[in-house]
């Protein structure tokens, strides 16, 4: 389907073939003495140039008069050459005098002059495309516009083939930015002069006949795909100048101040082969009436004389300005925290801006002491001698025993720091957190849930009883458990399940929190939760959990997209969305909770638990996936969005099918991440 476009050699061969055919036919007719009508009148000779001029009007409709005139001159010259060639053959073959041969070729009412009028346009036809193509910028014109800084422009290539050969030059990174001078200076005018709108500028010379060449590949994706029958690479080969689109430079210059060069389709339409279109020209224009092609500005600027848009340096001086010292002196070291303190309530509403600034401007606050970070209560130091942890062999499966108090439960654990930034302190364990009998009774509650190593001790001030699968690193599990155990007991619920990439950790509230951990995937997490809850019930009632560290959270507007996500969390019942950000603006929590419930508490809980578990990420347990608090049927699910802990999803509600709730939260997270 693609149109064949002959090479330069092919065009010349075609022209020579036409000439040869003409000579042969004319000679044959002359030899046979056919069609000779005698001497032609003078007007028949004089009318040859006007004939070609008239012909150019029909053959070259879209070119300038200058090019038509040029073609006419070429045609006359070709006519002369053909006639001379025919005369030479007549003279050689038929043995006539040279003068007679010339007369028969040019000045007879015979076949030879008539054939010359036909052969000349045919011989020139292969070069018609070059006549129609826009002319590249001339060397003299380029020399006139050449910038003082040496910027190689691809328009300096006079012929298409040269430009194609230098593709790499045309696509080299733009260098002027690197050498551009920094701050541009003001004019030394005491009172500023009007700034002209960019739209009113028009520096483009109107008589410019040069073109800007753009590689087709750079604009191919802007073409409507279903309007063409050829793939883009075939279209590129079939362009009038293969792989290049040319745009008159005057058009480009007129658009240059707009910051984007968007040319109408009509300007480049003629460069596309007719066979490439899947519809007629009329249908195309009807289907895409406003089609414009945005030319790549970096390519365009390389082909525009820099003097067109370079304004040059100006003096950076405003008289009188030096009398005012710079009023603002920044701190040597910026504060680390983000400066913005997003406010839930809009600051001064737009109307407030119109009020006198004295009223609108907040009073200057005195230097306020920086808010100290929320310090967790100091952990209770356990007795110094750290004996080896009590390790009990996994007990045999035992039927559930009647609930019994653990022999010697330690006092209620002190609330752990929610976000311990320092590495885990050296573990100091009391001689006995739980008796061996009590440990065995708790272990019996886990029968059928797997094989565990039992352990008890104090981690970061939190006493724990743990049952951990042998394949899971114990230190990592107890560190995680110690951080989340302090949140249990209050509004956070009676059990928390932490899922990481390689483990599931269930911590149940009890006088000494009970930890059950196993490897995942491959673990029935729901079974661990059930057995953990049973063991906690055996151990007794837990104390009240520690209060959450206060976080200043504020609500921001809920986008429709977020509201739509709420509808996908059906396993949590009917939930309402809220979006909270912290005071520093660095954290954001998407909260979905039951109607009437406070969103801030959930946000605080989510941030506290994620801050506390931040160190777990990518540790021995793998990346943190989710944290689920359970309080009766109500569950609070917290997970991060986008793989980092500064954007969280917290969903809460009565859950009858925990697995479905987990999956729905997973999908909701994906939807929020895809924003």
């Amino acid at each position: 389907m693609s149109r064949h476009r002959p090479s330069s050699l092919g065009r010349w061969l075609t022209a020579l073939g036409v000439a040869l055919g003409y000579v042969i036919i004319a000679t044959a007719l002359f030899w046979l003495d056919l069609g000779d009508g005698g001497v032609a009148p003078i007007w028949a000779i004089v009318a040859v140039p006007p004939f070609y001029a008239l012909l150019s009007l029909f053959m070259l409709r879209r070119v300038s008069p200058a090019r038509r005139l040029s073609w006419t001159g070429g045609a006359c010259l070709t006519h002369l050459l053909l006639g001379l060639a025919a005369a030479a053959v007549f003279w050689i073959v038929v043995d006539v005098t040279p003068l007679s041969a010339l007369a028969h070729a040019f000045a007879r009412l015979g076949p030879a002059p008539a054939l010359t009028l036909v052969a000349t346009p045919l011989a020139l036809a292969p070069f018609r495309g070059r006549v129609l193509a826009p002319r590249p910028i001339s060397r003299s014109a380029r020399a006139g516009h050449r910038p003082s800084i040496g910027v190689l422009a691809s328009s300096e290539m006079p012929l298409a083939r040269d430009t194609r050969r230098l593709d790499t030059v045309a696509e080299a990174p733009n260098s002027p930015s690197a050498s551009a001078p920094p701050p541009v200076p003001p004019t030394p005018t005491p009172r500023p002069l009007p700034v002209q709108s960019p739209a009113v500028f028009d520096d483009a010379p109107q008589d410019d006949d040069a073109v800007v060449r753009i590689r087709f590949e750079r604009i191919a994706n802007q073409l409507p795909q279903n309007a063409f029958t050829l793939p883009p690479d075939r279209i590129a080969e079939s362009l009038r100048e293969p792989h290049w689109l040319t745009v008159p430079r005057r058009v480009v210059l007129a658009l240059l101040p707009e910051g984007a060069v968007q040319v109408d389709w009509a300007i480049v339409a003629s460069q596309f082969p007719a066979l490439a279109f899947a519809m007629s020209d009329v249908e195309f224009r009807r289907a895409y009436p406003d089609l414009k092609l945005t030319l790549p500005l970096d390519d365009v600027l390389r082909q525009v004389p820099r003097g067109v848009y370079s304004l040059g340096p100006t003096a950076n001086h405003i008289p009188g300005l030096e009398a005012f010292p710079p009023p603002f002196q920044p701190l040597a070291v910026p504060r680390d925290l983000p400066a913005s303190t997003p406010s839930g309530a809009p600051g001064p509403p737009p109307s407030a801006v119109t009020a006198p600034p004295q009223a609108a401007a907040p009073a200057q606050r005195p230097p306020a002491p920086k808010p100290a970070p929320v310090a967790p209560p100091a952990p209770v130091a356990p007795p110094p001698p750290p004996p080896a942890p009590v390790i009990a062999p996994p007990p045999p499966p035992v039927a559930a025993a009647p609930p019994a108090r653990v022999a010697a439960p330690p006092p209620a654990p002190v609330a752990p720091p929610p976000a311990p930034p320092a590495p885990a302190a050296p573990r100091r364990e009391p001689p006995e957190v739980i008796s061996r009998d009590g440990l065995a009774r708790l272990a019996a509650c886990l029968s059928g849930a797997g094989t565990f190593e039992s352990w008890s001790g104090i981690v970061d001030g939190t006493a724990l009883v743990a049952f951990i699968a042998p394949t899971v690193p114990r230190d990592a599990v107890t560190a995680v458990a110690a951080r989340v155990a302090g949140l249990l007991g209050g509004a956070a619920g009676e059990q928390v399940t932490v899922r990481t990439a390689r483990a599931a950790i269930v911590v149940s509230a009890a006088p000494t929190p009970i930890v059950v951990a196993s490897r995942r995937p491959g673990t029935a997490v729901a079974l661990l939760e059930l057995r953990g809850a049973r063991a906690a019930g055996l151990a007794g009632r837990a104390g009240e959990g520690a209060a959450l560290p206060p976080r200043s959270l504020s609500s921001v507007a809920v986008e429709p997209r977020v509201a739509g996500v709420a509808g996908t969390l059906g396993a949590f019942g009917v939930v309402e969305p809220a979006v909270l950000t912290d005071a520093g603006g660095g954290a954001r929590v998407y909260v979905f909770r039951e109607p009437g419930r406070e969103a801030e508490h959930l946000g605080e809980l989510a941030l506290a638990v994620w801050d506390g578990l931040g160190r777990t990420r990518d540790g021995d347990l793998g990346a943190l996936i989710s944290v689920i608090f359970r309080q009766g049927r109500r569950r609070i699910l917290v997970r991060s969005l986008g793989g980092h802990g500064t954007t969280l999803l917290a969903a809460a509600g009565p859950v009858a099918r925990p697995g479905r709730a987990w999956r729905e939260a997973d999908r909701a997270a994906a939807a929020l991440e895809a924003r």
Binding site: L256, P257, G259, L321, F324, P327, P356, A361, E559
Partner: protein, 202 residues
């Protein structure tokens, strides 16, 4: 128009950071807020959408030097860059004393810069102002990105009127050029208010 409180000896100026969406206007204010001493800055108020785009405007009051016995205070505002918030932009421009036009240097944002500058002119005309009468500087932001336009072309599109105004290259998130821009427009505002001969600046 500056507001002068003679009783309190305070003069308030309003500077508006204008520009297309995502050009870095809020980033400018955030860096200013981070880098000013506590005694010079107030609370920054931002209201952003879920995509961290400015919904109404950002507001940061800062105090500066003392001139002729008056304490100068500057209220720094940004506008929402998205085209649909033009009414808010108009309101924020009311009573403006100085303008910082924050342009995005990336190739594909150049047209939005031009459109935004045109919009600034139109909105100022509603208050019978224009950029020729308001102290005004241009900041070419995001100069650290790889696909940015050359400075001379940015100047050609945004700063080539009869009056060439001060222009600065900037990387607002790192602070490059932020205080140069703010100090220059502030000094231009003071120069217009107090005239050529300034006495008693401290």
């Amino acid at each position: 128009m500056s507001i002068i409180n003679y009783a309190a000896k305070v003069i308030n100026f309003k500077i508006v950071y204008y520009g297309p969406g995502m050009a870095g206007k809020t980033a400018n204010l955030q860096f200013v807020h981070r880098c000013l001493p506590d005694e010079n800055r107030g609370n920054m108020i931002s209201l952003a959408t879920g995509d961290d785009r400015t919904l109404f405007f950002d507001f940061l009051p800062v105090s500066a030097t003392s001139v002729r016995g008056f304490t100068t205070k500057f209220q720094l505002y940004t506008v929402p860059g998205q085209s649909r918030y033009n009414m808010t932009r108009k309101l924020v421009l009311r009573g403006v004393d100085g303008v910082v036009f924050v342009a995005d240097s990336q190739w594909d944002r150049l047209k939005e810069n031009v459109d935004s500058l045109r919009n600034l002119n139109e909105n100022l005309r509603e208050y019978r102002l224009d950029l020729a009468s308001v102290p005004y500087v241009v900041q070419y932001n995001k100069r650290d990105l790889p696909d940015v336009a050359p400075l001379d072309y940015l100047e050609y599109t945004l700063n080539r009127g009869a009056r060439r105004v001060p222009a600065f290259e900037a990387v607002a998130v790192t602070g490059k050029g932020v205080f140069d821009t703010l100090n220059t427009v502030s000094r231009m505002v003071m120069l217009r208010e107090f005239g050529q001969v300034q006495e008693g600046a401290s």
